[in-house]
């Protein structure tokens, strides 16, 4: 039977879309693709099995999605949703309702860790286990085929049984793992889900023709009985599920059971486990010697828990059982499945169904996609064989604190029919896409068994991707990463220089390198450790200069089909002629039948790949190459940095023992400075003679790699020879003050925004500006020395800096540097600016999103400290609660500073009125007075050391709150416009002194471009595939309606002075302040070097108005509303069509594209009318004549 290669997300979406009428979702990794696939199917007009196209709705949060699902179900539609992790938790209240009302539905969950000491996007069962008491039944799948099948089986079951189902599978390991799936045909679906079943569901709906009420309020007399009515449904469920499984088997040949035994006929040791790890256990069983009499129970139906059916599946010979849980319940006697199994055996013993209690131990494995390997499986069986086995163990980590971990055996599975291949690529170079295609070719057309799994690193771009591909003539049971491969493709040569990749090569493996050198130069460029592997393991080495080939064919940097062709040539998995033919037909399918000319250009790469591939003769070679480049540049001895941070950086984080991890999830600041990612070949070079010292280059740099300082000339006496500086053009800094700009070339990402922004041109050569991009290599060491010296120079006196002028504000030290944000990111310049202005006294509540990822994705954080050790205290709580989280911080800070003031007064006698009055009276409205307060608090603390008593102790605890704190809620539009809007609105109404900045990319950037309520009309986004039909919410107008909220709309690229003013005013305002900052983003679809220019065009077109509303100016002569932009002066097309998100519509449908342009033009006019009216009329809080 033919198979189609897909992952579980796609496999489930196909069934869910076919068997539902309404789909309400909210995106969350790793479940988002299920909703996205469904939306694409509906957008293409694909019908479900009843002949109608399902409606797919993206809601504002999972809470909202579950509400919409509940509503749709109650009014008769077959409805579903897809979610994971935090999102699933938000659905729990509705899940109780849905189950309590006996409503058939299947929720599909790509099970993922919960945020506890830290957030994780990776897979385990923590989320689904929180749903046990809701009343949802729970069914688990082990791979994409099972997920596909069980999606249908559970859908049929729920309609018969009237109990809702939580269908889950492992996040990433299953949700994103590609395999060949036998697709269920619609006839089978119709056999299992009939119109009669559909109508039975509809007959119970809320319907005015036959109205009923639900959701009553019940009292002590009847609630309990009402709760117990459902028992018979749970009793019947298991049988109904098995019946549907049997029917399915009859139709497809694939048989499932509630509890499935696999192993020898009379096992002694047994593992009980749920989901994908079961496949690894099965594979291990097949490979253990005959001295292992072992087996495994795969649990498919977890709720209800059918003790009888479970015991029937367990062979009577079993003497000891290990139960594996992929979750943790701190404080419990054991994890969920373990407790259920223990209980099952205890009850069975009590009832006489068994006569002997086996030894039962439980353990935790695989939290957050921690690997679970055959070696670990063997360790469990070995443990079970012991007289006394360890209980409540952990597997896969080294717990050297509470000693829970099991020793892992040295064991590998060898499957000779399975070929394993590893590919290392750079994000966006097409490697992953090509590998996905390779899998399709082999798995679909050739009928082989395939598996593809992809690992990405923690940076948003410039990151290494690793593709794990397996090909076999028999089904593949290895649900773990490849350790040793028969083929390794390294698509970016720099990875060879940094990492010991060839340690993953099997003896005699084939190695393919994309090297920017001729074949005879490659050997000497390799590091010694790679050369050693090649010689010792007798590896076959091939190379190709893929970028040259791509260039020749006009393909730019896209090397994917070139490398893919080379793989097929070398590996001979299928004949090269067939491979080329398949690759070419994929190219044709990709661009569509209408892209003929473009298709031919791509063929060129394929054709030229083989003629440019060369094998390197290594017979006579010796290993004399250089060492690997260091992963971290540490200039200090710090145990944590060396033993934790550096390890994680070197991909050795798995080795870190529990004892070295922070107990409470607290991590140190300022660690990105050690990374030195070296990802750019070019960096800006400063020309001091052309420079006008405007500060714009530093302002727009997303990564704080280009900075300026002013220092007294005397301090430069020991400067390196090549250290350039010129007199400062700011005379009020002092006659001898010098100005210098320096660049950290090791941190630069090469985005070139600084050069684009620079307004100063060389009068003798207009192609040159005050900064110009130049190759790093020739002057690298000098540049590094200059930077190191520059960083060591003291910061200029903050009290002398005019923070409202860009050129001066940019001289303040950034306390946010070298983040993992995309090159050219539009958010980070604002974040960095905040850190410059307030970073030494700022507390940040950061919403989940891009800013929490580049702000806090391990191993490093860009938030840093100044030389006094001060910096931003930062935390990400959740997604939906960020405004409230910040509000709580402000309430707390205010309370403690009030408390401190009270204590000061109580201790006035001991401390002296002078100091107390100074501390209390200081308004701390500028840098000088804040600096004074810091000094006075230091003095206070010294004095407190000499005193005793409870009030003294208490004041010691809160004296730091006498220093003014700047509290900020930072987040994107996903948080502010959608999931967090309710909380944000409440904060608007609070009147507390909290500052909010919304980094508005107009789309859910972090999770891959789903639309938000900030997405403008005409923009293509997920869930707006043809271009968004409705316009964006105007969040500013919402906030303005309160009258006492400071509101600003800013865009740095259009008016950086206004941006700076708004931020300073917002922070100074002693009430709620909201700044909505336009942020260009990779999700907009253009080279971000033009990002700031696009901001300018957005404002000039009228689509992004600039304004400020300052409540402090109400009741004064000044207009509180400042209109900060001019009437639209360019057609909207000039802004919009530079961006793929808008221009894409033109490629799809010209008429719709023209309509969007027309509507956008009207919108720009309406914006102008609305905002200029607010400006002129004073309508917000005052009558016109009072302005």
């Amino acid at each position: 039977m033919s198979r189609i290669v897909m992952d579980a997300n796609e496999a489930v979406a196909r069934v869910a879309h076919k068997t539902n009428e309404v789909i309400a979702i909210y995106p969350i990794t790793p479940s988002s693709p299920m909703g996205e696939h469904s939306d694409e199917y509906s957008a293409k007009g694909e019908e479900n099995i009843f002949g109608t196209v399902p409606d797919v709705m993206e809601m504002q949060s999972e809470g909202g999605a579950s509400g919409a699902v509940h509503g749709a179900l109650q009014t008769g539609s077959l409805t579903t949703t897809f979610t994971a992790s935090q999102g699933l938790l938000l659905m729990i209240p509705n899940m109780y309702k849905i189950a309590g009302e006996l409503t058939p539905t299947v929720f599909h969950v790509a099970a993922r860790s919960l945020a506890a000491q830290g957030l994780s996007i990776f897979g385990d069962h923590s989320d689904v286990m929180q749903c046990r008491p809701t009343g949802f039944t729970m069914v688990a799948s082990c791979d994409a085929q099972e997920a596909h099948d069980l999606a249908l089986i559970t859908q049929a079951t729920t309609l018969h049984a009237r109990l809702p189902v939580l269908h889950f599978f492992d996040g990433f390991r299953t949700s994103h793992e590609l395999m060949g799936v036998e697709v269920i045909g619609e006839e089978v679906m119709r056999e299992m889900i009939t119109p009669e079943m559909l109508n039975a569901h509809k007959s119970r709906s809320l319907d005015p023709q036959h109205p009923v009420i639900r959701g009553t309020s019940q009292n002590p007399d009847v609630y309990f009985q009402g709760r117990e009515t459902v028992n018979k449904y749970y009793d019947a469920f298991g049988k109904i599920l098995q019946t549907q499984m049997d029917i399915f088997a009859g139709l497809t040949g694939r048989q499932y059971h509630l509890y499935e035994y696999y192993g020898c006929e009379h096992p002694k040791e047994l593992i009980v486990i749920i989901a994908s790890a079961a496949k690894t256990v099965k594979e291990t069983i097949d490979n253990l010697g005959s001295d292992y009499e072992v087996g495994v129970i795969v649990v498919r139906m977890y709720r209800p828990f059918d003790i009888k059916a479970l015991l029937e599946a367990i062979p009577k010979s079993v003497r000891s059982v290990a139960v594996l849980d992929r979750t943790k319940e701190p404080g419990a006697n054991g994890e969920p499945l373990y407790m259920d199994i223990v209980n099952a055996f205890v009850e069975s013993l009590n009832e006489g169904a068994i006569s002997v209690m086996p030894k039962i131990i439980g353990g935790r494995y695989g939290l957050s996609s921690k690997e679970f390997t055959p070696a670990m499986v063997k360790s469990i069986y070995d443990e079970l064989k012991k007289q006394k086995s360890k209980n409540h163990f952990t597997l896969g980590i080294n717990d050297d604190v509470t000693m829970t971990s099991l020793e892992v055996a040295d064991f590998e599975v060898h499957e000779p029919q399975t070929k394993q291949a590893l590919f290392y690529g750079l994000g966006s170079d097409g490697t992953v896409g090509a590998n996905k295609n390779t899998i399709k070719i082999i798995g679909e057309d050739e009928g082989g068994h395939v598996q593809g799994y992809f690992v990405y690193d923690s940076k948003k771009s410039g990151s290494m991707t690793t593709s794990h591909l397996r090909f076999s003539s028999k089904p593949i049971g290895s649900t773990y990463l490849i350790e040793k491969a028969d083929f390794i493709g390294v698509h970016q040569f720099v990875f060879m220089l940094k990492y010991d990749l060839l340690k993953h090569a099997n003896e005699g493996a084939d190695i393919l390198l994309n090297a920017p050198y001729s074949a005879d130069e490659v050997w000497q460029r390799l590091p010694r450790i790679a050369q050693e592997h090649i010689i010792e393991k007798k590896l076959n080495l091939y190379s190709i200069n893929a970028y040259d080939v791509a260039k020749e064919c006009g393909l730019g940097k896209r090397i994917n089909t070139i490398m893919q062709t080379c793989f097929f040539k070398i590996s001979e998995v299928i004949s090269i002629e067939e491979a080329i033919s398949k690759i070419k037909s994929t190219i044709e399918k990709t661009y569509g039948s209408k892209g003929e000319m473009i298709v031919r250009m791509n063929y060129c790469g394929v054709d030229k790949a083989i003629e440019n591939l060369e094998q390197i003769n290594v017979a006579e070679m010796v290993a004399i190459g250089p060492d690997l480049l260091p992963v971290l540049k540490l200039d200090t001895h710090d145990a944590f940095l060396e033993n934790v941070t550096a390890k994680i950086e070197a991909f050795e984080g798995d080795e870190i023992p529990v004892s070295l991890m922070p107990d409470d999830g607290t991590w140190p600041l300022g660690t990105t400075q050690y990374e030195k990612r070296d990802i750019s070949l070019e960096a800006p070079v400063w020309d001091p003679d052309v420079c006008i010292q405007c500060g714009k280059c530093m302002e727009v740099c997303p990564h704080a790699v280009i900075r300026g300082k002013v220092v007294d000339k005397k301090l430069l006496s020991d400067a390196p020879q090549a250290f350039s500086f010129v007199p400062s053009k700011n005379k009020h800094f002092g006659e001898d003050t010098q100005f210098s700009i320096k660049v950290s070339v090791e941190d630069c990402t090469g985005c070139t925004l600084c050069v684009e922004m620079c307004p100063a041109k060389d009068k003798s050569d207009l192609s040159r500006k005050a900064i110009n991009m130049e190759a790093i290599e020739p002057t690298r060491e000098e540049a590094i020395a200059n930077w190191d010296y520059f960083v060591g120079l003291p910061e200029f006196d903050r009290t002398k800096i005019d923070r409202t002028k860009v050129k001066e504000a940019q001289l303040l030290q950034p306390l946010f540097e070298f983040s993992g944000a995309c090159p050219g990111c539009g958010e980070t310049p604002y974040v960095k600016l905040l850190s410059q202005l307030f970073g030494d006294r700022m507390i940040v509540a950061n919403a989940t999103g891009c800013s929490s990822i580049y702000g806090g994705n391990l191993p490093t954080t860009p938030w840093s400290k100044n030389s006094e050790g001060q910096g931003t205290a930062w935390s990400n709580s959740l997604f939906e609660d960020n405004a409230e989280f910040g509000l709580g911080m402000r309430a707390s800070v205010d309370r403690q500073s009030a408390f401190a003031a009270e204590l000061l007064n109580k201790l006035r006698g001991d401390l002296g009125s002078g100091l107390v009055d100074a501390l209390l009276a200081n308004g701390q409205t500028d840098e000088a007075s804040i600096m004074q307060q810091r000094k006075d608090v230091t003095l206070l603390n010294e004095k407190l050391e000499t005193l005793e008593g409870d009030n003294t102790t208490l004041l010691k605890g809160v004296s730091k709150y006498l220093i003014r704190k700047s509290v900020w809620s930072i987040g994107g539009d996903g948080w502010a416009y959608d999931i967090g809007y309710g909380g944000l609105d409440h904060v608007f109404a609070s009147g507390k002194n909290i500052n909010i900045i919304v980094l508005d990319t107009q789309v859910y950037s972090n999770t891959g471009g789903q639309k938000s309520k900030a997405t403008p009309m005409g923009a293509v986004a997920k869930f707006a595939a043809g271009g968004k039909m409705t316009d964006a919410k105007d969040l500013a107008l919402h906030a303005l309606s309160y009258g006492d909220v400071y509101v600003a709309r800013v865009a740095m690229g259009a008016n950086d002075t206004q941006t700076l003013k708004a931020i300073v005013e917002a922070e100074a305002y002693e009430g709620v302040s909201l700044i909505i900052a336009y942020a260009h983003c990779v999700a907009h679809g253009y080279d971000l070097r033009y990002g700031m220019n696009q901001q300018k065009l957005a404002v000039q077109s009228g689509l992004w108005p600039l304004m400020r509303y300052n409540p402090d100016k109400v009741d004064t002569d000044e207009n509180p509303f400042s209109l900060d932009y001019k009437a639209p002066s360019i057609p909207v097309k000039e802004y919009m069509y530079n961006e793929t998100r808008f221009k894409m519509v033109l490629k799809m449908n010209k008429e719709r594209a023209d309509e969007f342009l027309s509507e956008a033009g009207k919108k720009a006019k309406r914006n102008w009318i609305c905002y200029s009216d607010l400006h002129e009329s004073g309508n917000l809080t005052l009558k016109k004549d009072e302005v």
Partner: protein, 331 residues
Amino acid sequence: MKMDIEYLGLNLKNPLISSASPISSHTDQCKELEDNGIAAIVMHSLFEEEINHELHEVDHMLFHGKDSFAEALDFFPDNDFENYESDNYLKQLETLKSSLDIPVIASLNGISSGGWVKYAKLLEDSGADALELNLYYPVNNANEDPLAIEKHYLDTISQVKAATQLNLAVKLSPYFTALPNFLRSAHINGASAAILFNRFYQPDIDLEELQWQSKLYQSSSVDLAKALRAVAINYGQSDLELSISGGVSCGTDIIKAVMAGARSVGVASVLYEKGLGHASVMLKEAEAWMIEKEYDSFDQMRGSISYTKSPNPAALERANYVSLLRHSEGI
């Protein structure tokens, strides 16, 4: 009296052709031109750079930011693209062919020979009656050898000719050192006609932004004069057919062009200025002149004032240049 002529192996009802311009994107406008007597349509040029640009644009749309970060494996939904500019060209060619009776000549503008060969075949398959190749390779570097440039042009011609059965016309810039020699070589390499001359965007300097800005000037009678001279000089030096483009605005310009030696004339600017109906005004004027001066046909007058047949060839030589300058006080 006979108005029809033969050009590029096509029977045209008169020498007046609509040159490459955006008019060809509008089928209704082409029909109107046909109704007004235009004998053939040259489609707007398909630029190699535009095709490349579109490829990169589409690639960008399909692959931008893909597979870099686990939470955002892509940024845009899957979409089917239909509106490919490069393929719209082929579609429009087919539409024009099915809507018009007059020949439709496709126009290519590129710099790499590989590109041309591919597209030429596609254009032939879509029904083009002939092919116009815009040969313009801007030489900006002192290291570029003039003979190598000419060889590149000639190689392009022969490669395209090898790939298609269509007759080729090459549209040239006026800046050849030895145009007659090049034209003869072009013919040997497979060109059937040469169109004199191409016009280019000439940039101006923007002193506010301190950068170059592009401007397009409409063609003028200066362009016509240049072409007339070139056609007259070259007529008869090979079997290459000649066509004049640029600065043609009235019926008598057609006469002048044919007398100099041209087979056909191309118009565009004047149609924008004076409307599509101006084509019939021009043709009527030409016809009237021919009737008045008792000419039987364009074939009769073709090349009658070319260099070798001119009553005063010195006007086309250096002596005339010297004399004009000497007597230029009144200008």
